[in-house]
């Protein structure tokens, strides 16, 4: 049993990987379906009132997927990552690991495998949404879907790096997860400012819809910021945890 295998075992036996795959997968199917049948749904629920809904397009279907999946998905990602990264929450467990391995040895598999599981779940569900959309409506923009999915995957990795940072600030799992969600919401609000928006990682979320709709790739600044901030968050979390007493 190595620390890498420990992390894989944690993801599988505690059902966390299935929670992530389940949430994203569910919306991967639901998003295109609701886009396809939106007129019928509105008609049934409308109670006779006349409501105009947009035509079902591949862009709308993929946007439905992202919009629904990322809300609940980010919450799940923050909690799953916090459960792994806030390992000082239980001092006895922390003592077992800390007296046998260095903080980088403990954290590396937790960061890498949680990023892989979370971003991988999103990418997998994005592929599901693509296939369902192609079958039900029309084939979405392939290049836009791939690049957009990868950029959102990067944003998810940034969110996990942020979770690690907060795990080094507070000890509890709920506190770590909620601080992460709060910081992501704050970044999204700040991102509304035109001057800073393109520089913030939250801009990567918007890339998904825009690239599938055929927009240009204008996200280098957000990519660079996400990479730099993720690296910095991880470095700070390692430093802080190395100096934290249990």
């Amino acid at each position: 049993m190595t620390l890498w295998r420990l992390e894989v075992t944690r993801l599988i036996r505690s059902y966390r990987i299935w929670i992530l795959v389940g949430i994203f997968g569910f919306f991967g199917v639901l998003g295109p379906l609701t886009a396809r049948f939106l007129p019928e749904i509105v008609d049934r629920l409308g109670g006779g009132a006349e409501i105009t809904v947009p035509d079902a397009t591949p862009e709308l279907a993929m946007a439905q997927y992202l919009g629904n999946a990322l809300q609940l998905g980010l919450l799940a990602i923050a909690f799953v990552a916090a459960l792994a990264l806030a390992f000082d929450a239980k001092p006895e467990m922390a003592a077992f690991l800390r007296t046998r391995a260095t903080i980088p040895q403990i954290l590396t598999p937790r960061y890498v495998l949680n990023m892989a599981a979370s971003a991988g779940s999103f990418l997998l569900a994005s592929a599901v949404a693509f296939v369902v959309t192609a079958v039900m409506i029309d084939v979405p923009n392939v290049g836009g879907t791939i690049v957009g999915s990868m950029l959102v995957g990067l944003y998810i990795c940034f969110a996990i790096a942020l979770t690690g940072l907060f795990a080094s600030v507070v000890r509890g799992v709920p506190g770590t997860a909620l601080l992460t969600i709060g910081a992501l919401i704050l970044l999204s609000i700040v991102g509304l400012l035109p001057a800073v928006g393109p520089w913030l990682p939250s801009d990567l979320v918007g890339s998904y819809d825009a690239l599938i709709a055929g927009g240009d790739f204008v996200y280098w600044r957000a990519v660079a910021t996400a990479l730099v901030l993720s690296g910095a968050a991880i470095a700070v979390s390692v430093h802080r945890m190395e100096h934290r007493e249990v």
Partner: protein, 294 residues
Amino acid sequence: MSSPAVATGDLTKQYRETLALDAVSLSVRRGSVYGLVGPNGAGKTTLLGILSGLRRQTAGTFSVDAARIGVLSDTPSFDSWLTAHEVVDLSRSLNAPDTEDAAVDHVLHLTGLSDVARRKVGGFSRGMLQRLGLAAAVVGEPDVLLLDEPAAALDPAGRREVLDMITALRGTSTVVFSSHILDDVQQVCDTVGILKAGQIVYEGTLAELVRNTGHDAAYHVRIRGSGDGLVGVLRSCEWTTGVELDGDVITVSASSAPVLERELMRCLARADVPIVSVAPIERSLEDVFLEVTQ
């Protein structure tokens, strides 16, 4: 003489207003079993925490001269979805990767966990977790073992097994273990360090501790009939520091055990009183501990 396996010099730890350790200096001989005893809040866990690298000292120095250190916290806890075998195997791969896999089964057997080795630890009792923690600490035969209350949660049989394990490690590993169960300390330790309010108030062998703690030597003399006459005789002797009569038992104290042993017998021989028995009052480690820490 070889250098100590564990040593501290004026080790101090301050938690805001509380001085948890106050210039603690101790030395643990290589291959010995060192008992760290003291009342609750004396600083035992803090001291072990610093030695195991989980906490940092405010001042002072310490050294743990070992390639491998095994650590057991006072209430060990593990991921509930791991099996007992996986917990010990994880410890082996981290602490002693060159050790063969068979060592895992061996220590699980030693700690009495062979039958539950493949069970997830989520359902383990506190005693079983303590055994598992000990198994994870000793796998790979560490040079130094730091054990915080290793037998606290165990039933008498389990405690016996754990103490036997610690005794068996003497000579191959250096063991520092904290305990408030003096009987455990008495059974396995070569040396004890008594902590009181963050200070080492005694360090040495148990025999020296019992012998040298500044207390009068005393004997019980059981007599038949009235003891008033003998009490009067004894009180008139200048070497006695205390003579008390309680029923048919006289308690005689003197500042020096050899003087008491020599003079008491002379006195009794002179007195015309039937003597039933004469016995020294043995002071237990607990008596001494309470005396030192109060």
